[in-house]
């Protein structure tokens, strides 16, 4: 079973306890009413869907019930690292270091 490290519990837990919650670091527009329909649709629906390193949100649903961010490789399904919401996106150097 895949183990995911929850940065709030500071523990590796079985994936059964977690839920995926979409791409991370997507800021809600400050003033939605100023946006065109296309821009709003882009914010709502358009995602990167990269092959390789992906920044994504997860929720420790059957644990501390908190959201956090993770860096996962979409090819190998390997979790490179996890970090708390509000923290900066890890640098490519950090990710390369953790991946090796």
């Amino acid at each position: 079973m895949m183990m995911i490290e929850c940065p709030i519990c500071n523990e590796k837990r079985p994936e059964l306890e977690f839920r995926y919650a979409g791409e991370a670091h997507i800021a809600r527009p400050e003033n939605p009413s100023a946006l065109s329909d296309d821009e709003w649709a882009k914010y709502l629906f358009i995602r990167n869907n990269p092959r390789g390193t992906h920044f994504e949100r997860w929720v420790h649903a059957h644990g501390c019930a908190k959201f956090f961010n993770a860096v996962r490789d979409t090819v190998s399904d390997k979790f490179v690292m996890t970090y708390k919401c509000g923290e900066q996106r890890p640098s490519p150097e950090t990710i390369a270091e953790r991946s090796s």
Binding site: I8, R13, P14, L16, E17, C64, A65, K66
Partner: protein
């Protein structure tokens, strides 16, 4: 297996027949349904915990997945801003009064007494039995006495707390109890 008044309550509520399926002679575990308890779910911002503890006199554990126990209550820290408080039924009202003493910041105290039922799983084979449905490593080194956590048992969410080396306290939603027992029952036979 104990059979007291609460067992029959659960039987009536949920159609659970306690006392037969889990009673395997020679097995090194016991499953016991706990009596009625007062339970509260407390939500409070992390920054207000110290002030809340001071005003109410409740010793809230601040480290996640740890508990505070005294004669009155068992307080489990399930998340940085969430606690499950379990106490004897007669202490419930007192607890609510105590919490009302804190007026400085908002908090939420919800009575969830009848949402859960609690089981004690004890004996040398207790950890092995729980591992039938729960993939956590219950070795004493990784799950020491006094550790609690919300986790999952097959498809049902539970709160697991290690009271002593060989006794686990499990909180589970009342409606999931028959399912929980049936899984335990199958696991117990396989052991």
């Amino acid at each position: 297996m104990s059979s007291d008044a609460t067992n029959s309550t659960l039987e009536m509520d949920q159609g659970v027949t306690m006392g037969q399926s889990l009673d395997h002679p020679g097995q090194s575990f016991t499953v016991e349904l706990m009596g009625e308890k007062s339970r509260f779910s407390l939500r409070l911002r992390e920054s207000n915990v110290a002030a809340f503890a001071k005003a109410t006199g409740l010793a809230l554990p601040t480290k996640i997945n740890t508990v505070y126990r005294d004669d009155d209550a068992l307080i489990m820290c399930l998340a940085p801003d969430e606690w499950l408080i379990i106490a004897a039924p007669e202490v419930g009202a007192t607890l609510q009064e105590k919490c009302k003493r804190h007026t400085a910041s908002p908090f939420s105290l919800v009575d969830v007494s009848h949402r859960n039922v609690a089981f004690h799983i004890g004996g040398e084979g207790a950890a092995q039995l729980i591992n039938v449905g729960c993939p956590l490593d219950l070795d004493l080194a990784t799950f020491p006495v006094g550790k609690c956590t919300r986790t999952i048992f097959e498809r049902a969410e539970i709160v697991l707390f290690r009271e002593t080396e060989t006794i686990f306290h499990i909180e589970i939603w009342r409606s999931f109890a028959p399912y929980f027992l049936s899984v335990l029952s199958n696991g117990g036979q396989a052991q």
